[in-house]
């Protein structure tokens, strides 16, 4: 390892011109460490070329995925690989046996026509190939994403501070970093591994991981803002980072493994479904094996080729072929929405969630109070009040101030350019509890009602008090406005519920999911927000430890709980919840405790996660139903063909079962071949559905089932009748009958 001692960073680091106060101060480590650096201009933000979100959107059959998938499909013909999938293994064995029969036929020992056996063998191989192709396609999409991520992980050199001494810097490969190492990163560096900021304040671009281009401020000791992720880039100033991840176990490494499916294990529900499919396969194996002596009794003995064809059409090949693709694609859909699930089990659990535990602030409301209404005192018009409120807030950069300006502007008032010229700004202080503006000796102030009252020159009208009390009772905050000592009225500030959230909760209710809002607010405020947002229940004045208690209570009643969280004190609750979604901005502890990470750090994403979980299970159920329903038509195609000569030896006329040939298929051979071809082609036809998932709209379970039964059950019953008939017509047209 190459070691060299570097001079102190203060002088060695070229300083970006944009940093406030110029070079020297910015690059030194501020003693208090709390002065925020200035955000570099947008042009200097690194592009998010590597992120998942910005990865090129790929069409379903993108040639870049299809080509390697085709090669993979051949590789997957290895029986050792297929052993994981009993249904397809049976098909492959059938394909191998018919191939042997075909060869024997070529040598002149055949029961069935050689062309017929050859075609059956070929289509059986196609069936296996198509199943492999579906899986390879799903895997390929994950691999493409993993490659994008891997580019970011490429080896960087880290500046390790030996013995924690800033002046003794040792260059070390990022892969050799151990937890506890102290690393120096400076503007422009890639952060070498996951860690915790222990000194410095700087902007970091997390675009590489989240796709979010706006840089994030990182500083020590703030729980959330102090954690940094390997692969992100520092774009201003410098930070000292204590490494927290073992080599090869960084967030990025885990992400790559996840999207690549390297750690993919079958999920519980997938295993259960596999057992069901294996059971059905065994039943059909029994049916077909015993049909040989039974058909021999009837003098209509089924040849091995025909029996294998019958078996393959009966066993649930459609779902068997697509099952693993469905699972991979489900994870992939989450990744596309920038959510990383640590296990497939978590995705399935998401579909089962009964209760969502949601923080009020940031999830249901914007968090900052927003101006909602101007309530003037008698004798003052709303416009007068709004004008004064606007003026008092012109220089107010707080979210509240901005919202007052926005509300006033929505009433048609405009800020004249240069309005602030010569104005004296009166900032908010804890003592005065009001802020405003003085212009030409003209003072327009807004603030807490009692503070305003002290500064009023004329008596406060009772109407103002009444309004203020009413606002307080509704859980809002009143801000009184005075213009030169004259009370004009109050501004109604309230915690605003995010638009559309009410509808989303209604959707959830239709899906049978209850929402519980958690807030530290007093019950009054909580009630107002709860009513506005339409949550089912809320817990007011909640302390962080209440979350875990609520989760346990719900679980004891047999409910599955999902929640989001970001702070270290959320970690126990995230771990206790059945689905715990950690925000990417959150602490390492939170990310460790949850079973999913949302890279966008959007708490409402939980709702989409639930939908994806449901969609995953629904796709499995729909294709299973479709697969089984298909069998009916296949019986009607194959059995009359197979039993053409039944009981003729005992004097019966041939073709007594012709009435069962409801599709009027041309010949026994074309009928059997058409069924096999349909069986193979339907796999290809359903790959897009398996990858995309069945359409999901929030509705009650009963309506959902009715709808899916109609589409996939009845559809599955009818589709093969049409499909087999069409294929038979084509076969007849080309002379294969």
């Amino acid at each position: 390892m190459q070691t060299n001692t570097r001079p102190a960073p203060a002088t060695a680091t070229p300083t970006p011109a944009e940093t406030p106060g110029g070079g020297a101060t910015a690059a030194t480590f501020p003693v208090d460490g709390r002065t925020a650096p200035e955000l570099p201009p947008r042009d200097d933000w690194p592009s998010s070329g590597g992120s998942l979100k910005k990865a090129p959107k790929r069409g379903l059959f993108d040639p870049e995925i299809v080509r390697p998938a085709l090669v993979d499909s051949l590789r997957k013909l290895d029986p050792r690989h297929l052993a994981r999938n009993p249904v397809m293994l049976i098909v492959e064995i059938g394909a191998a046996i018919t191939t042997v029969i075909f060869v024997r036929n070529l040598l002149g020992h055949g029961v069935d026509p050689t062309w017929f056996v050859g075609w059956i063998a070929a289509w059986l191989w196609f069936t296996v190939f198509f199943a492999n192709f579906a899986e390879a396609m799903a895997e390929g999409r994950g691999k493409a994403q993993a490659d994008t991520l891997r580019k970011m992980r490429s080896e960087t050199m880290a500046k390790v501070m030996v013995g924690g001494d800033r002046s003794r810097i040792e260059q070390r490969a990022s892969s050799a970093l151990r937890p506890g190492d102290l690393v120096l990163v400076e503007a422009g560096d890639i952060i070498p591994s996951d860690g915790e900021v222990i000194d410095g304040v700087a902007y970091v671009s997390e675009a590489a991981i989240t796709g979010e281009s706006a840089p994030v401020l990182k500083e020590p000791g703030t729980d959330i803002a102090s954690s940094v992720t390997g692969g992100t880039q520092i774009i201003s100033d410098a930070l000292v980072i204590r490494i927290t991840a073992e080599p090869g176990k960084t967030f990025l490494d885990r992400m790559i493994a996840l999207v690549e499916g390297a750690q993919r294990q079958k999920t519980p529900n997938e295993i259960a479904l596999n057992i069901l499919l294996a059971g059905l396969t065994i039943i059909f194996l029994i049916v077909v094996v015993t049909l040989r002596p039974i058909s021999q009794y009837a003098g209509a003995i089924g040849s091995t080729t025909v029996l294998i064809a019958l078996l393959v059409t009966l066993i649930p090949t459609t779902i068997g072929a697509l099952l693993s693709a469905i699972g991979i694609a489900g994870m992939d859909r989450l990744v596309q929405r920038n959510v990383l699930a640590m296990s497939g089990r978590a995705v399935e659990a998401a579909g089962d969630v009964d209760v969502l535990l949601l923080d009020k602030t940031g999830t249901i409301t914007f968090g900052a109070r927003q101006a909602a209404e101007f309530i003037p005192v008698p004798g003052v018009t709303e416009r007068e009040l709004a004008t004064a409120a606007l003026r008092s807030s012109l220089a107010d950069d707080t979210p509240e101030g901005k919202s007052i300006v926005a509300l006033a502007e929505s009433l048609g008032l405009a800020t004249e350019p240069g309005a602030l010229e010569g104005a004296e700004l009166v900032p908010f202080t804890a003592e005065t509890r009001m802020s405003g503006i003085r212009l030409d000796g003209h003072a327009t102030m807004k603030g807490a009602v009692d503070a305003i009252e002290r500064n009023a020159t004329s008596p406060i009208p009772p109407a103002l008090h009444e309004s203020a009390n009413r606002i307080g009772a509704e859980g809002g905050t009143p801000l009184a406005v005075i213009d030169d000592g004259r009370p004009l009225g109050v501004i109604y500030l309230k915690d605003t519920v995010k638009p559309g959230i009410r509808e989303r909760f209604a959707d959830l209710r239709a899906m049978g999911i209850r929402t519980i809002m958690i807030t530290g607010d007093n019950p009054l405020t909580a009630t107002t927000i709860a009513r506005e947002a339409g949550v089912d229940d809320f817990v007011a004045q909640a302390k962080p430890e209440d979350k875990i208690r609520i989760i346990r209570d719900q679980q004891a009643d047999g409910r599955l709980v999902a929640m989001t969280g970001d702070g270290t004190n959320d970690a126990p609750a995230l771990a206790q919840a059945d689905v715990g979604v950690a925000m990417n901005t959150g602490t390492a502890a939170a990310k460790e405790a949850g079973n999913m990470v949302d890279l966008d750090s959007d708490p409402t994403k939980l709702i989409e996660i639930v939908a994806i979980g449901k969609q995953l299970l629904m796709t499995r159920g729909a294709l299973t139903t479709f697969s089984i329903a298909n069998d009916v038509a296949k019986y009607f195609a194959i059995l009359p063909a197979m039993f053409l000569t039944a009981y003729t030896a005992e004097g019966g006329a041939p073709g007594r079962l012709a009435a069962l040939n409801v599709m009027r298929l041309t010949s026994p051979h074309s009928a059997i071949l058409a069924a096999i071809i349909f069986n193979a082609l339907i796999i290809i036809a359903l790959i897009p559905l398996a990858l995309r998932g069945v359409a999901y709209r929030p509705m009650s379970a009963a309506s959902l089932l009715r709808r899916n039964l109609l589409i996939y059950g009845v559809g599955g019953l009818v589709a093969p009748f049409v499909g087999i008939k069409l294929i038979d017509l084509i076969l007849t047209a080309v002379g294969l009958s």
Binding site: L276, I283, Y297, G512, I513, L617, G651
Partner: protein, 581 residues
């Protein structure tokens, strides 16, 4: 036709009422609550426990429960075998019948232990009264009680939460016998005796027929065995002609009582299930699925039989419903009793095969192919259409687990039934149980279809012969015991083959059921939400029926195609076959 429908409506109404009464009673009984018979029977029950050393309060895990059940049944099997082999030295043998031949004794002992009551012998000339009463009739009680116990254990699996215990087999067995079977049989016997069914220990009575020949009229304790034969869905007749015989089933009233007795416990258990899981509508949903399948079966069979057989018309037999202005049964009366007519015969045929009873009042072999297909399919579906005492409920609940697994997925949740998540282990056990039936039926039938010995036993060739073979193994595996007839089952191939089919069909089915019960009991019970698929409405009933019918049809369609299906076409084409031709 109107009369037929009216009869069916009255019948179903009676069944619903009786099921509700008995089901509520059993729910209390098996939950350990006091019932109206408790003051009378509790001292007896306590006495039995004291004598046998059973601790009433002790609960069992599924493994212990299974072992107890198997021990009890193996013991019963060996005892019956011994009685049959030694009947010549045992009392109550006025006809001085000799020992039962070993293979037949094995077959018969298995048959009665497994609640099948397949009879490969003529009872009148084979069984002493002692063998009938101690060797066979006792099993009519114990095999039925075993079935009830297992059904209750499975219901407890659904009803309980986070426990490993599913009840006490001995207590369930005693309660089912003492509080359910015995009281009903006591009343039922007296009613049957009042309608003329013999109940005595007399020797057979010789009479001279009109033609001047001497005929022996069989006697014996018939009424007591008749009622438990139906109530316990056993079906083993005291007489070879079974309930077609006027001594066993003399009048239309006894016919009605006996048919209700066949169905009532199975129907009631559905209600018990609903009560015990805390929502009686869950029970009625199961009941409805069963009832709909039953009614459809009755309709198809009755229409098929009433439409008659074109070959009979060719032979000059009238199948019209009026002859010279007076009403006639019409249709295919071959093999049916004139005192019952077609509707009461087909009703019985469908009921006896939908349940695992197997008593008959007409000869299924003489039905039209389509009419005979329904009884065959009823058993093949696993006797879940009310089904055997207990076995019907646990059979349909297994189907429900599979149905809910597929349905649950389609609503986007891990499937759950009655709040129990259906996971790997549950699916595995349900599939194991479901696999056993087709494996045994088709496996043995396939072997019989190409075995010279088995083929020589047929009385009919071609498609009808295949139906006879299929029916024999379907009836044995399904523990039904009804004979399609038309086959000589008293040959080594059938005695041994069917013996094993009965054992497999009974016990290899029960073990996974109990394993499932144990696993379900250990689970938490999830709360029902709007996102849970409701298992009480019409959609669920339809889905359950769909799964039962589709899985059953896919399993048996190829074999049935070469049996009853092709025979129906041949019949309409006027094609006949003869053995050796």
């Amino acid at each position: 036709m109107v009369l037929n429908i009216a009869m069916l409506v009255v019948f179903i109404a009676l069944l619903v009422g009786l099921s509700w009464l008995l089901g509520t009673y059993m729910a209390r009984l098996f939950s350990g609550e006091r019932v109206f018979l408790s003051p009378l029977l509790q001292p007896v029950e306590r006495g039995i426990y004291r004598l046998t050393g059973v601790n009433e309060a002790e609960e069992m895990r599924w493994t212990t429960y299974t072992i107890a059940m198997l021990l009890f049944n193996v013991g019963g099997l060996l005892l019956t075998y011994a009685i049959l082999r030694l009947q010549q030295v045992l009392p109550f043998n006025p006809q001085h019948l000799g020992p039962v031949e070993p293979r037949l004794a094995f077959n018969t002992a298995v048959s009665f232990t497994t609640n099948t009551n397949w009879q490969a012998y003529y009872p009148e000339t084979t069984m002493s009264y002692f063998s009938q009463m101690v060797g066979l009739a006792v099993h009519n009680f114990t095999s039925a009680a075993t079935g009830i116990a297992i059904a209750i254990a499975l219901v407890r699996g659904f009803a309980r939460r986070t426990t490993r215990e599913i009840g006490n087999f001995w207590v369930d067995l005693v309660r089912a016998t003492l509080y359910v079977l015995l009281p009903i049989c006591l009343v039922g016997t007296l009613v049957l005796v009042s309608r003329g069914v013999p109940q005595n220990l007399d020797a057979y009575v010789p009479t001279t027929t009109l033609a001047g020949a001497t005929q022996w009229l069989p006697m014996g304790p018939m009424a007591s065995q008749e009622i438990i034969k139906e109530l316990g869905t056993n079906g083993g007749g005291f007489l070879n002609a079974n309930s077609a015989h006027p001594f066993e089933n003399p009048t239309p009233l006894t016919n009605l009582i006996e048919m209700l007795a066949i169905l009532v416990i199975a129907g009631a258990l559905a209600v018990t299930f609903g009560k015990m899981v805390g929502n009686i509508r869950q029970g009625w949903a199961i009941f409805a699925a069963m009832a709909i399948l039953l009614v459809v079966g009755i309709a198809v069979t009755t229409i098929a039989e009433q439409s008659g057989n074109p070959l009979l018309s060719h032979a000059g037999a009238s199948q019209a419903t009026t002859v010279d202005g007076s009403p006639a049964p019409g249709g295919n009366m071959e093999g049916k009793e004139t005192r019952f007519g077609i509707a009461a015969s087909t009703l019985w045929a469908v009921i006896t095969t939908a349940t695992s009873c197997g008593a008959v009042n007409s000869m299924h072999d003489s039905y039209t192919p389509l009419g005979g297909l329904i009884p065959l399919a009823n058993i093949g579906l696993g006797e879940v259409i009310f089904g055997g005492v207990g076995s019907g409920l646990y059979g349909i609940l297994i189907c429900a687990v599979i149905a809910i697994f597929i349905a649950g997925l389609m609503v986007g949740r891990t499937p759950e039934y009655l709040g129990k998540k259906i996971e790997q282990y549950d699916v595995k056990m349900a599939m194991l149980a479901l696999l056993v039936i087709p494996l045994t039926i088709l496996g043995f039938s396939g072997a019989a279809a190409v075995s010279g010995d088995a083929l020589a036993s047929r009385f009919n060739p071609a498609a009808h012969g295949l139906t006879e073979i299929l029916y024999a193994f379907t009836s044995a595996t399904g523990n039904n015991g009804s004979a399609f007839a038309g086959i000589n089952a008293n040959v080594p191939f059938y005695l041994i083959g069917q013996g094993f089919a009965m054992l497999i069909g009974r016990f290899l089915f029960i073990v996974p059921v109990l394993a499932l019960a144990g696993n379900l009991a250990a689970k938490k019970r999830a709360t029902e939400t709007a996102g849970t698929f409701p298992t009480t409405g019409g959609l669920w009933v339809g889905l359950l029926i769909g799964v039962i019918v589709i899985v059953g049809a896919l399993t048996y369609f190829p074999a049935y195609t070469l049996g009853p299906v092709i025979e129906q076409f041949q019949m309409h084409a006027g094609e006949t076959f003869s053995l050796g031709g």
